[in-house]
């Protein structure tokens, strides 16, 4: 409790989901004290442009800021930035923190929102290699920008997922020689299907990116200068070498749950939670770190997507208030949606991919089309749209209302 008797809600993680949780609590009008804890020193910023407009130098840091960061006092929270959460005591209802400036501390809570996100997965044994980059934070993007400005290309991108594809597109569009390396037979096979992945690979090839598929990375060719080492190339599993002065690794993300070790919360691919995102009484999860029982899909899901950060963050704010008030709330049951911009392709995807698929609109050869995915029972489960934003959004609405395949075909033909 705070001094005036209002409940104190602590939000750990001051990025997209955490900020939206705070905003939802404030908009509800509830009388609650909010403490927002973030490990980065900067006020919250938006991450998608880090691999696109910001990396390419088209946007400055000011433009990255999330809206509440432009007037931080207006959010009505106690900001604790530059502060790591290092432990959770569910019994004592406290979060242990370690601040860059103020050292260790303990914050008591009545309600807790866990939104600590995920960090970039790195390749083993690359810690000392300053030419090997990831793109997750603004600091990462700053380092990569500076490195490319300093050392130039050629650039090797390891991983042809969305981060890899966007980084490759950004640097290729800036005129650099880029090679994109992917261990799977096609890009994005975990999210889309191999054929759609190959369309995206082809889009990169047309732009002049060298795309190497179905081959893993063995290690790096290094120039040893004594006090520092520079990368000269990437050694592939087939024995070939890709010349590279800068390497960007985009091979997925790992949820930030280490600080919750021993807390009693169930950690399994993030923090496990029920269909209302509740991980324990008075503890709610949101964003990339949340692995909740998704009602629609009947299984636990962790969604590393921007829109989910906003949506689940807002839900978490309302969820914790309902919990504190002892009121019921509907489960969190969204149809996921994401976008990726690569060259002039705006790729949008709603739902989840299924085995069945058919192009219901347009022509991939013209770079404008919509593809419907069907699950094992033949019911619509996903919709991919390239340069067809209306199709993506309408598709999402149809998926949300569990429309039939015929209904979707008729409406989006």
């Amino acid at each position: 409790m705070s001094d005036n008797g209002a409940p104190r809600i602590v939000i750990v993680g001051a990025s997209l989901a955490g900020v939206h949780a705070a905003q939802a609590i404030r908009r509800s009008g509830a009388d609650a004290e909010i403490v927002l804890i973030g490990d980065e020193a900067d006020h919250p910023y938006d991450r998608p442009p880090l691999s696109k407009q910001y990396l390419g130098g088209d946007w400055d840091a000011e433009k990255l800021l999330l809206r509440p960061s432009k007037d931080p006092d207006a959010l009505g929270v106690e900001w604790r930035l530059g502060t790591d959460a290092v432990g959770l005591d569910l019994e004592a209802r406290t979060v242990r923190t370690l601040s860059m400036d103020d050292g260790p501390d303990e914050v008591g809570f009545d309600g807790l929102v866990i939104a600590t996100g995920a960090r970039a997965r790195r390749l083993p044994d690359t810690d000392g290699l300053s030419d090997v980059h990831v793109v997750r934070s603004k600091a990462d993007a700053d380092r990569l920008r500076a490195a490319v400005a300093d050392r130039g290309g050629p650039i090797a991108v390891i991983g042809a997922g969305f981060i890899g594809g966007e980084v490759a597109a950004t640097f290729r569009s800036a005129g650099h020689d880029v090679t994109m390396i992917e261990a799977a037979e096609a890009p994005l096979t975990r999210v889309l299907d191999a054929e759609a992945g190959m369309m995206i690979a082809e889009r990169h090839r047309v732009e002049g990116v060298e795309v190497r598929l179905g081959v893993g990375v063995d290690g790096f060719e290094i120039d040893d200068h004594g006090d520092h080492q520079h990368v000269r190339g990437v050694r592939l599993a087939d024995g070939s070498t890709v010349e590279a002065r800068t390497v960007v690794v985009g091979i997925g993300a790992i949820p930030n749950t280490e600080w919750l070790g021993g807390s009693g919360l169930e950690i399994d691919n993030g923090v496990r939670a029920d269909a209302t995102c509740l991980a324990a009484p008075g503890v709610v999860v949101a964003g990339d770190v949340a692995n909740w029982d998704h009602p629609r899909y009947g299984r636990p899901m962790r969604v590393e997507q921007w829109d989910n950060g906003v949506d689940q963050g807002g839900y978490a704010g309302r969820r914790i208030l309902a919990d504190l008030a002892g009121e019921p709330i509907d489960p969190f049951d969204p149809v996921p949606w994401f976008w990726s911009d690569q060259y002039d392709w705006k790729i949008q995807f709603a739902g989840i991919a299924g085995r069945g698929r058919e192009i219901i609109h347009g022509d991939p050869a013209e770079g404008r089309f919509a593809q419907l995915y069907l699950d094992e029972g033949g019911a619509p489960c996903g919709l991919l749209a390239v340069n067809r934003p209306r199709h993506a959004i309408k598709g999402r609405q149809f998926l949300t209302s569990a429309a039939s395949a015929d209904e979707i075909r008729d409406a989006l033909a």
């Binding site: 921007w306 906003v310 705006k346 959004i393």
Partner: protein, 63 residues
């Protein structure tokens, strides 16, 4: 409330149309049209949600 869209930022993701079709419409030409710059009070929550969910933060609400 006045709805202002920064069309230099807008990329017609059409998320706003999903949330508040009374106010936002992305047409066949793939451009966003603001149907109602001064939406009635009953729409304000939806419009705020649309502004939040815009991936480009291109929607500003004044007043």
């Amino acid at each position: 409330m006045k709805v202002v869209v920064d069309f230099d930022l807008c990329e017609s993701n059409a998320v706003c149309m999903e949330i508040a079709p009374e106010v936002f419409e992305v047409r066949d030409d793939d451009f966003l049209y603001v149907l109602d710059e001064n939406p009635a009070e009953g729409l304000h929550d939806k419009v705020r949600d649309a502004a939040d969910r815009c991936p480009k933060q291109a929607i500003t609400l004044e007043g």
